[in-house]
């Protein structure tokens, strides 16, 4: 019974959020539609990291590498003049990203704990400098993507990402798809094994799980899904820059995941939206006047307050409040 109740209460706000996102383009101005779309892309990015950090307990500080590699792959594989087909571009980009994740993961996963954090950072920095310092893809100034991809059968265009509306809904679909995929993964045997690895890897090995391939599979899956976000970002902006791979980008997405609440998919999405919302709020000149240019100060203080008051993230807040309301029954 307990299980059922939990599922119900989780589905209702999710459904509502989905409806809100679906009708948003009819309500908000073009900029806000764009902003929500960017935030959805960030949500996908955060979700992919959640699989590593929340589910598997692998704290990667270099996740932006896959976001950026996918974006660069998109830009490099797209032809200059005519629209590439989504049918081959997306798989190709994801394959490239998965390959990068497999290589980086294979090395990084030899270490653990804080050392893993730092090795992933090191690999991300290497990727950053590859794009920043070489002429491979426009160097530090970045590279353009001129034509947005389409999905067509014969002459019939199914999906043209050049249309803002279509692209918005394509992004929403991608978000839902990634969310559902991860929800499936989390409840599958694979997901339970990952959760076991997070809780106690030694026990999992003693039980007969070869944990390294499991972790590598999670790493590759997370990298590939970050690639979905990178692909969408590149197509949306039409511009890719090395800063997409920079360490502070990895830090920002980690922040979103923690802010929302480790260990739940909702947390990653809520964290991404909250992060963007807070930034918009503090940057608003209408509210803060001239002080808006010091927006990092209230943002920093809010983050500190979040850590102090909401150690388990925002999504854990309702439960926490409830516990504070209901007096704890005294034993005896």
């Amino acid at each position: 019974m307990k299980h059922r109740h939990r599922t119900d209460s989780a589905v209702a706000p999710l459904g509502l959020a989905l409806v809100a996102l679906a009708v948003f383009p009819f309500l908000g101005g073009q900029f806000y539609v764009d902003l929500v779309q960017t935030t959805m892309i960030l949500s996908i990015f955060a979700l992919s990291l959640e699989l590593l950090v929340g589910t598997t307990g692998l704290v990667s500080f270099g996740h932006a590498a896959f976001f950026g590699i996918a974006a660069y792959a998109t830009a490099l594989l797209s032809p200059q003049a005519d629209a590439p087909s989504l049918a081959w571009l997306l798989p190709a980009v994801l394959a490239a990203t998965a390959l990068a994740a497999a290589v980086i993961g294979a090395f990084s996963l030899r270490t653990r704990g804080v050392y893993f954090i730092m090795v992933t950072l090191a690999f991300a920095q290497m990727a950053y400098y590859v794009f920043h310092d070489t002429k491979l893809a426009g160097g530090s100034d970045g590279i353009y993507l001129y034509v947005k991809p389409v999905l067509a059968i014969g002459n019939f265009t199914l999906l043209d990402l050049a249309s803002a509306h279509t692209f918005y809904y394509a992004t929403l679909c991608a978000l839902v798809a990634v969310y559902m995929l991860l929800a499936l993964v989390k409840r599958s045997r694979f997901g339970h094994a990952l959760a076991g690895i997070r809780a106690n890897e030694q026990r999992m090995r003693a039980a007969g799980y070869s944990t390294y391939p499991y972790k590598l599979a999670a790493f590759v899956l997370a990298g590939t899904l970050a690639g979905v976000a990178g692909f969408l970002q590149a197509v949306k902006d039409g511009f890719v820059n090395p800063e997409m791979l920079a360490w502070h980008q990895s830090g920002a997405v980690l922040l979103m995941v923690i802010l929302g609440g480790i260990g739940s998919l909702r947390g990653a999405v809520v964290g991404a939206f909250l992060f963007v919302l807070l930034k918009e709020l503090f940057q608003s000149e209408a509210l803060f006047g001239g002080f808006a240019r010091h927006w990092q100060l209230p943002l920093g203080l809010t983050i500190i307050a979040c850590v102090a008051l909401m150690p388990n993230g925002v999504v854990a807040m309702p439960a926490r409040l409830r516990r504070m309301r209901t007096p704890v029954p005294h034993a005896g």
Partner: protein, 255 residues
Amino acid sequence: MPGDVLLRALDVTRRFGGLVAVDRVSITLVRNEVHAVIGTNGAGKSTLVNMLAGELAPTQGRVQLNGRDVTRWPQPRRARAGLGRTYQRTTIFPRASVFENCRLAAQAKSQYPFDWWTRAAHCHESSHRAERAIEQAGLAGQTQRLAGTLSHGQKRQLEIAMCLATGPHVLLLDEPLAGMGPEETERMLLLLSTLKPAHAILLVEHDMDAVFRIADHITVMVNGGVIASGDPDAIRVNADVQAAYLGESEAVGTA
């Protein structure tokens, strides 16, 4: 059935830098037999268990499981081949239910890592095996409890249940009685005796009364080497063993 040699270690040695933690130890585990390894602190018992389980590679020597050389096999592979172990410090998943703890352990037998569609909870094979292990370990009433809320004794039982859920033939039990009260100890010894017929059991234990009650064979280690090996009666009267244990108590007395 009795007499089946399930696990055999031949001259296994482990060095850490200049220190020899385990020095040419040979040991044989037979079905329907509890083989206890005793020794002072730092005698190398845990290192030996770790080498048998595959967590630590021996510097020298061989390990055979069911007659096959598994010296180079990593721990998970040995586990899948029927080698189960428990740890001195409990290694349960405290935030999951007792059932899920065992189910996850049992799932190691049918992993299907890329079947992302089937719910883990719907994996009947592992559920079934988990239930059986829980029953065997005497936790039948606690199935839905969170593992972290169990009593210490129950946690030790769960540790064994998780080990059993993987369907092992060989059990390596590292101090299963540590920190247990008399009643819990009795329960655990009873459990071991019910497991004995189908398993070969290695028991590392400090509780001498329990060891001499239940063990069929005892190996005594000092400073990484074996000083005596034999049935309980032989060990009880062994002069070397007495000297070693007396020596230890003397040392404790003067410290």
